[in-house]
Amino acid sequence: MKKTKILTATLLVAIIGLITVAADHIDAPAVSGTKADITDFYAFQGEDTNNIAFVANVQGLLAPSATSTASFDENVMVEFNIDTNNDNVEDLVIQAIPRDGKMYFFGPYAPSSTGLNSTINENAIKSEVSITPYGSSAIVANQNGMKFFAGPRDDPFFMDFAQYGEIIGGNASGFNNPGSDTFAGSNVMSIVVEVPKSQIGTSGTINTWVEAKTKQ
């Protein structure tokens, strides 16, 4: 039993080592292979066009066999940052942090301080959703005028990253046609929040980015 586990772990590390990957997947040594490794970030108008949906994905390249045991880390906070006055400093945050099978959300609210270190203001708007287990249909919470989801999903990113690596490595002169999606058949851990536009600005353009922060 233990031997099998160790073997599986070793094999997994070896496979991850072989496939070096992109959008933001495995982008830097300090986060690669950790539960704080952001793979992707999306922001788009929702099905209800009064809303914006934010998607943060972490833990890339989960094989289906590894997805049932994959989990969010209770020491990792995922923070959506929203700049409403174009100075690239966050005016509002939405913080997501898992506790005991649920993902808790705080915000959107104005943080008391900006930048690399964050705390959670428990007096901010608080919402929660049960983390959807692998194999179950998506559990969605509607709270405080927002929608929430957390759990495993198909990795929405697509790219022939392997061939890009060959080109950068000097082993190929161009992409293949058709290309091959390096991310096909793999999963990620997703956090999706849909927020009324009225809660994150009025009109015009906002600047947004996502951060993974670990408890000190």
């Binding site: 058709p178 849909e194 993974a212 670990t214």
Partner: protein, 184 residues
Amino acid sequence: MKFNKIKYIAFLTLSLLIMSCSDDSDTTIQIETDFSGTFVQKDQMGRPAVNTVFVSSSSKDEFNTTIPSQQSAMFQSMFQTNLTALSPAFANSGDKNALGQDAAAFTGLLATDVLNVSLDGTTTFFDGTNVLTGRALADDVITVELLLIFGGEDFTENPSLSDDNVSANDKPFLTSFPYLASPW
């Protein structure tokens, strides 16, 4: 081992007794969920593939822990050096991409790694008309970036480098929340 078990059972029995005795109290013991502490930044992302493509290997962690308002000052020149080294479409001075940006202007935009999102309508990385008004799930962001990096002034340069020929996800997206497809 066995003694511990006995102790445990004894303790459990005692606890149950005490609990059943204290029926005069209607206050339930609430276990407060703990959200305390300071959370320190490890990774960040605005636009896709920026750190992967434009930041030199030794600086990738530093880029992830530099706040966006300081990124341009710290990284724009590195981005420009890496762009001109990477792409023949920016090899000569005066070269531009299809947005009319030269190497300095293009990397000046990218070095501040935030995703611009319009609150007024279409949200897309690029759909032929709208540029950088968001990022939708189905946007072929990599081909857009490859075109802007390698495609030159009119998207026709270096055709073998400016499209990875993977244009859609391997599973269809949902029209309703949570939009992402169920896992494999």
